[in-house]
């Protein structure tokens, strides 16, 4: 697969994960470039497209973590960083998910957006299936009051 094909196929996935983790476009763009350069530099032996996808997800999350470790803590208001035209409901849910701690956001995104099964999420994150289920459970618990409050506005 050429560089162009790789970026076209996996670019949106990498960017969305990076954006959901970093919460702002500039950091997501840094992570995006770092991930695809890592793919070339480390040249991992990937037997299938499934492996390539899993590798990219894992490296994206690792790059985000590394990014957080290296950056100074600067709070960027989320209002300035809505990346495109959302409906009010979409914006509320987007904000609620992005306000979760990173490890919970990751499982929510991989489960609800990438449609990955719990087992595969566990393999990607190198955690046990039960740990994935626990994180999903806690994430839903954290989201419920926020979402309930938000959706009451629209009723």
């Amino acid at each position: 697969m050429t560089a162009e094909e790789t970026v076209q196929r996996y670019g949106p996935m990498v960017y969305r994960i990076a954006l959901s983790q970093t919460k702002n476009k500039e950091d997501a763009e840094d992570v995006f470039q770092e991930v695809f350069l890592s793919l070339i530099r480390s040249n991992p032996s990937l037997e299938s497209e499934e492996h390539r996808k899993a590798w990219l997800i894992r490296v994206t999350l690792n790059c985000c973590k590394k990014h957080f470790r290296s950056m100074k803590k600067v709070t960027i208001p989320l209002t300035e960083d809505i990346p495109c035209e959302f409906t009010p409901e979409e914006e509320d849910v987007y904000r609620a998910v992005l306000s979760l701690p990173q490890k919970y956001k990751a499982v929510i995104h991989l489960f609800y957006y990438e449609d990955l099964p719990v087992k595969e999420i566990g393999e990607i994150l190198d955690i046990k299936e039960n740990a994935v289920k626990t994180r999903l459970f806690r994430a839903r618990q954290m989201l419920q009051p926020k979402l309930r409050e938000m959706f009451e506005q629209y009723e």
């Binding site: 670019g11 990498v14 960017y15 350069l37 530099r41 032996s45 409906t87 957006y113 989201l143």
Partner: protein, 247 residues
């Protein structure tokens, strides 16, 4: 949760900027060696320019092609499957695998009293040390078989020592053990030998026991001690695992 459909539809609208994708493709192609030709510098006399270009091409393309085994851009030394090389040069470091047999039987550090032992959930341990303990690069076929996080507390319930260990196995009997401790090298590390290797300017110790083909690397990084041990694994795969800790 129906509201997650809204998250899905929101995320569907998120696309990487076109310029970003183009820049990433350009950087990837450059990293692959497909650099676009640079404009000639007018002050440079053509004959010298040609000679310099030929020399650069030789250094950039021919020498790496001769030395690289084709298995990854991190290796300069050619590694052969099924054999062990005591000194390995990487594009951004080097590893010298020492073979003294006694370094692997180091008893470890038992500083003071052990305190009260507790086994923690991995997520709690990760929160305590401030990072996740997962392998940054896991070779194909290896899966996590067991892991544990043990801490020792003093009378005031403060952690005085901690130790995380994970065992990965692969069907052909390959085994990889990762040990982590905060603030000190994990128990079982080769303490009594100086660092002999370097990756990206950071020091580490590398060892190899020919008796059972076991690799051993230990290092401190950002206040965390790491010990990686493996057997039944190729030298190349082991180095790839180690190298990814320094990414």
């Amino acid at each position: 949760m129906n509201s997650m459909n809204k998250y899905r539809s929101a995320m569907d609208k998120v696309e990487p900027p076109k310029e970003l994708a183009e820049k990433a493709i350009r950087l990837m192609e450059q990293a692959q060696g497909k650099q676009t030709p640079q404009p000639r510098r007018h002050w440079f006399r053509p004959v010298y320019g040609f000679a310099a270009a030929a020399a650069c091409l030789f250094v950039l393309l021919v020498i790496p092609a001769l030395l690289n085994n084709g298995s990854g851009h991190i290796f300069i030394t050619k590694l052969e499957a099924g054999t062990h090389t005591s000194s390995v040069e990487l594009t951004d470091g080097f590893l010298i695998f020492e073979e003294p047999s006694d370094v692997f039987v180091s008893p470890g550090v038992h500083a003071g009293k052990r305190g009260i032992k507790e086994e923690w959930e991995i997520t709690r341990y990760e929160e305590y040390i401030g990072r996740e303990v997962s392998l940054p690069y896991r070779p194909d076929g290896f899966s996590l078989k067991e892991e544990s996080a043990i801490v020792y507390l003093d009378e005031e319930s403060k952690v005085v020592r901690d130790h995380y260990q994970a065992r990965y196995r692969e069907p052909d009997d390959g085994e990889l053990t990762v040990s982590i401790s905060s603030g000190a090298l994990p128990q079982g590390s080769a303490y009594d030998v100086p660092d002999n290797s370097s990756i990206r300017g950071e020091p580490l110790y590398a060892g190899y026991d020919p008796a059972d083909g076991r690799y051993h690397v230990r290092f401190m990084r950002e206040g965390i001690g790491y010990l990686l041990e493996a057997r039944g694994i190729s030298q190349e795969e082991f180095i790839m695992i180690v190298w990814h800790f320094f990414e």
